[in-house]
Amino acid sequence: MGEQPQELGRIIGPDRFSDDASDLAAYAADKSFAVANKPSLVVRPDTHDEVQHIVAWANDTVTALVPVSSGPPHFHGDTVPSVAGAVVVDLTNMKKILRIDRRNRMCVVEPGVTYAALQPALAEHGMRVTPPLLPRANKSVLASLLERQPTLIPRYNFHLPEPLRDCGVVWGNGEAMYTGEAGSGPLSLEDQWNAGLRQIDPKGPAQTDFFRLLTGAQGSMGIVTWASLKCELVPTVHKLTFVAAAELADLLPLVYRLNRVRLGDEVLVLDRAYLARLLGALGCGILAGELPPWTLIVGLGGREHLAAERVEVAENDARSIAEQVGLSLRLELCGASVSSVQAALSSCCKTPWKLAAKGGSADVFFLTTLDKAPGFIETARELAVSLGLTAADVGVYIQPQHQGVSHHVELSLPYDPSDAVEGARAQKFHDVAGERLIASGAYFSRPYGSWSHPVYRRDAASREALCKAKRIFDPLGIMNPGKLCFGALAVREEIH
């Protein structure tokens, strides 16, 4: 190393530059099965300009950068360096909420802005960003959306990246850019705001949806330094309803129908194991056995005019639709605390709730159409049983996306990471379930870790296209090498 990190230190300043071992250890591993690998440095920029300088430096020195926006722990392996000598760019210091605009229902945030910080700030204006399910408090909103984590309200999900809109980015080649509508305006957010521009349309500019090349990229294309987000209005009246079923298949017609007519705010399906874990982490000690095998949760929200009447009409309509398929809409959940469920849908957890049960969680998730979900779940459960688990050990969460066209299916296995046997079994479950599900047609649109190889083997044309894109936006391959289909050593060998 030597001079190079010192140069980096001069760029970033000594306070926000560290090669301290204990500091670095925090980034060397996460809660996934990624092989631990310590970075050589961690830097904590405060501004877009500093990010740009860091990236320029990394290009000059051909050093890998691993952007991290959320506080620990991390879960998918994307923040663990895959190569030696990487520098972690910890963006958690960039935590300004740059703008909140109630009239246009937009906000602009830096990458370090967390759900815990943003939601209360938006709430003062009667707004929020549609959240994922119970994010941890230190989870970066921007990172969550960039990684296309599913959000809770399908009818707002006009396309998967919603509510992410425009971005400011420093690409891996050092070029800085605004994406979307912002890219056609003056290159200063202040100037844009003064001109009445609000960074609303994410498309473009021109013929490229640059922001889509950043989503799902695990930080391998560039570093996003700000993003505009569409906000929803916090409902002034909100009610939770529940539909219980013995079999998942019983719920499918209702889920389809609700999404078809865009009824409901939150719409999600949980099996008893997942729901019990979720509620347990929130202090509602209910056993899985006390819950129905499957629960559909439907939130009903009313906003602006006639909000209460809106909820009433929605409830009546939902009830009617449920009855048409032989199900009942209830206002209670088998003795479980409704307020706990409400908290899961609208708040953050201080510590990651999935770790509460056993300290570890092997999660397998993919996208599918709803009709195929039962088959994939069955595949995963069969695997679990073959590994000496029970089917009930694997919790299931189904989140309708894209207004009901695609569904996030998540299979979650808690395990004790301090137990080597459990750990190995959990890893096997994670890897083999991934392989089998990929092979049987589950779409792993977010191919973390061991999933990337089978995903890109299956889609060589996309792999080639993405590598072409990578060579354009990050020609030296410095951005988080070794992730997705971007080789660790291969790219670097190419350039040498």
Partner: protein, 561 residues
Amino acid sequence: MTGPVTHVLPRKAYRALEDIVGAEHVSEDPAVLDTYAFQWLAEVVRPRQSPYMPRPAAVVMPASTEEVQAVVKLANTWGLKVKPHSTGWYHWSAPVKDEDPTLQLDLRRMGRLIEIDESNMYAVVEPYAIAAQVQAEALKLGLNLNIPGVGCSSSIVASACAYHGAGPSTYFMGGNAENVLGMEWVTPEGDILRTGSLGSGDGWFCSEGPGPSVRGICRGTLGSRGGLGVYTKCAIKLAPSFGPTTWEVGGTLPAYRLPVAETQRVYTLAVPTWNAWAEIYYKIYDNEIGYIFHRQFNLAGADLAPAFWLMYNDHTKTLSDVPALVDQPQIKELTEEMRISFQIILAGRSQADIELQDKILDAILAEVGGWKVERFCETDMAEFTNMYLQRLGHKHINFVWVGGYIGSWMQFGTPDWVEGYVPIAIAGLERDAKGGLLVQCGGDAMMGSGSGVPGGGATGLEQFVSYDPADLESTKAGIRHMEDAVKDATSHGFPPGKEFIYLQIGWTDEEIWEALRNSRQPVVYDFQRQIKEAFDPNNVGDRMYPTLPAARLAGEHGNGT
């Protein structure tokens, strides 16, 4: 008149094309070629206002993705350009440079509606399946689809993959940029790339990923307009219909009518000021009502629109009757009443829901001082409006006055921001039409979606400027207006609108590069150059996919702060 630049293909190349698609599906007859060179808007960009774009070297009509692939590979071999079009409405559907020997791919033999997955709400289509066809089939299943502003005669694949895709129903149903799912793309090299879940063999349902979304290369604000490969299939997300599965269309042509469904409402709403217009749009967004939302009828010009539309609804009348109608006292009153007006269709999932939406709308109108335009909400006009907006099958009315239409302004932003340019746009058209070389329909001939982004938030208003393409001076006046509109906008601190989308087609490469270099972020076009080099090494696609040569990217980069 000098003759057209003509490219004669080497015989071997021509015979190879015949081998691929069949001799009856290739032509190099000059008259046939001219029917592809002739394009609306050619007259505003071509030398001496010629109505012909460059003539292709041959027209080829493939029937399958494999045939498209073979033709594209042939073009690579022979150094030809490829210009695909679906329905081919817009001058960039044609070849753009006289000096480029171009194969015009007419995709009309690829018109299948491959499937509709009802439960999962998407349709899979080929390029020549137009929105009207797909909607008709979707309705049978209780589904609907977003029809882009150009109307239902347009190709779903084109609007989703290769152009824009927003329209009156985007507010509720999503634009075709948001609705597109898997795409099948024959790249300029002749490879086949399938995006999203389709590429993984997992079906059509997801356009994103795997990992970063490859579809990000395919289209952005606009698509490549035929300038970067050929899209041969796509899947498109559908929307709920909230209406009957078959339509009992009545009325007498041209003004067909569609009875308003029990759980729908069709209104023309008006407001007293443009400030109120912005207010009502925000309130509609926030209250989440509205299914189809558009300022449509004003395309005829605020001074003439009520008279025009009432004339249109009487099959015994023609444009000759409009002047007399305009002068009638009750029409004058109506014209003032609906000077700032727009159309909205509400759709409820139940009777209670639609009644509630009605109440919400009434509350909103009371807040902004707006009203329902009674005459246009009467059954006849409501049913006409319903038919018009639901099927969007009369978009050729854009050209009703005299056959020439070009659109200025249409800068896209928040309602507040758009309100800012409205008076400038009105004054500009009034000024430019004064000399009588443009149709004088009042300064406000603006039309636009209630929201061009789904869920609300951003709109735009486009001036409908009518000129006579058979009259050189009128055509030139149309061009001058576009240039004036750019000056009007920029001198008032607004960016140019859609004028350059039309006019740039006629610019030289140098002029285009200069404009790109001076754009806010020339790096965008440098990236696109690299994308083109990666996917189109033999330069088979044309400049409808804009790029900036590396040597032109000089001076300051457009860096963000």
